[in-house]
Subunit: 340 residues, 2 copies
């Protein structure tokens, strides 16, 4: 089979690789219906994460089960499934507490390479969720989004304690930030302020439920949020970038007692203790426990209550994966869907 | 009247000062029944916080109301009252949300100097709580503790999501850490691990409800907590020191999805974003919203359910305030109570 391999910054290739097989009795092998490029893949593509050997890429996936190991109980060949970007056993104390992305037996799906025709999924029972049947083709992008970016935006909104009556600010206008807007809307937020300076992303943010757009960043961005919130800051702030500037902007845009949900993968961030102490905001984030949200998210997509697939503004054959990365790197695309 | 003034590191004097008076119609003036020295006062005493001019000291107080301003409604002369170390109006949006220590009109009681015979309390209705009557003398230390250290330890336990079935670790064996142990016990924690290497403090921790004592610090301390928690870390960790080492120890001792409640006043702390992201712990802390907890804490003390006054192991006349600081600085005392 074929899949994506990165050899050096900017050098993603579509290459023949061995077909994955069942290695453990808890594994499944799926044939991908769709996969995609993540904003976090760009940390590698741009060389921020070092590349010391050729790496398989991709951790977002939907597809049809080809084969399962002898201990798999809840998933069967022929099922259309979605899974998290982190495989989790579903039974450990951390999984049962709701944090499957930190399962004691976690496997990063990125290490297996989901930008491919076939994918081995460890801990199939704990990781995958089957849809009620074969999905209508137009639902596939939204189901794919649930694998990471929707689940991650949803977790950020949950971590930021979004709910009815709340004012929510969203730092970051990539797919995760935009789906944080969608999640905030779905969770009943009263006012949703999207921080974006790109017209196409602003438009999508409004479509997902943003009530206000703030184009300023840094100190000016914080000032604008304060102006819009009676000088207090937002109740809930979603951080979906992962830089020092975005984290400080998020914390400083939050009112005392409010909540920051941060899901941008941290790169070079260092937070002053004094700021955390005196800002008195709840801070919670990390790799999203997507699996916890999947049944609910699939249900909402299935009943067409939400349409997160709108974040895909470029669709390419998997063979053109290199162009998919390039378009996102150059900000010509918000998110690239790849069809094997 | 007389009160404590610090002139330079280590130089606390008992000096004559002007009697406080009602300055705003929302003020009260109280005659102190007891006051005390806080671990956070030592940051100033030791010169970590710069002293550019003589400063009044003290922010913990109980006493009898002498006089109230014309707009005060809930407190009257003759009432025995306790208040938070932060005066708050009780009516702003932040107060109503439960964060009075970050009130938009907050006044730090430390700036007014509670180590004195008389004290002006701004926002009397929002700040002070009257006891059901004149307290028995043996309850006064516990009521005084509620003004800061008990309320702060309680907030830390609340911020750390302590509750039934939880394993709690407490970093810091000062008065706040020890009262964090008491709070954890009162809030139903199953197991409480106190981190301390001092026999007297270990004994008090056990009296307050600690089930385990860990004497190791840093990496070794984290390792011990992991050993005691099936390799996962504690559900809830209370941080009551405020240094880089104690914050990292607290975060690393917490399981994924767990909660850190930090109340040690941050000094020179810088938290790596990557640690926060991948540890996936809830982080919340800051100046404790003591006023929110006061009615409940007074009730528990009044009914002798808790005895937080045990943290006072040295009682001196207020005139000997300098010795009160010295004893705490030299760790000869956990906490000094001062009698005007």
């Amino acid at each position: 089979m074929y899949g994506a391999v990165i050899h050096a910054p900017g050098d993603v290739r579509y290459e023949q690789r061995d077909d994955p097989t069942i290695e453990a009795p808890t594994d499944a092998v799926i044939r991908l219906a769709a996969t995609c490029v993540c904003g976090s893949d760009l940390w590698t593509y741009r060389g921020t994460n070092p590349i010391t050997r050729p790496l398989r890429m991709g951790h977002e996936y939907v597809g049809v089960v080809e084969e399962v190991g002898s201990e798999v109980r809840t998933i069967a060949p022929g099922d259309f499934v979605i899974g998290s970007f982190m495989a989790s056993d579903g039974t450990c104390e951390i999984c049962r507490a709701g944090y499957p992305s930190r399962c004691v037996n976690v496997v990063s799906m990125g290490s297996l390479g989901a930008q491919a025709e076939l994918l081995r999924v460890p801990w199939a029972d704990g990781t995958l969720v089957a849809t009620p049947g074969a999905p209508a083709p137009e639902l596939v992008p939204s189901l794919l989004a649930a694998s990471d970016v929707l689940g991650t935006g949803w977790f950020a909104a949950d971590a930021a304690a979004v709910g009815p009556g709340k004012t929510v600010a969203v730092v970051g206008d990539g797919a995760v930030g935009l789906l944080g807007v969608l999640a905030a809307k779905a969770l009943g937020a009263e006012r949703i302020i999207a921080m974006s300076r790109h017209a196409d992303r602003q438009a999508l943010a409004r479509r997902f439920g943003a009530t206000d757009i703030v184009t300023e960043r840094g100190d000016d961005g914080v000032e604008r949020i304060k102006e819009l919130t009676n000088g207090l800051g937002a109740h809930s702030v979603i951080e979906a970038v992962g830089t020092q500037e975005s984290m400080l902007q998020a914390i400083r845009s939050t009112r005392a007692g409010g909540h920051v949900g941060f899901v941008g993968v941290s790169h070079g961030v260092s937070l002053p203790g004094e700021l955390l102490f005196y800002s008195e905001v709840h801070l919670f984030g990390g790799p999203a426990p997507v699996r916890r949200y999947l049944p609910d998210l699939i249900d909402r997509i299935w009943h067409r209550e939400i349409d997160p697939g709108l974040v895909f503004d470029l669709t390419l054959p998997l063979a053109e994966v290199a162009e998919g990365y390039k378009a996102m790197d150059e900000r010509r695309a918000i998110k690239t869907l790849l069809q094997p």
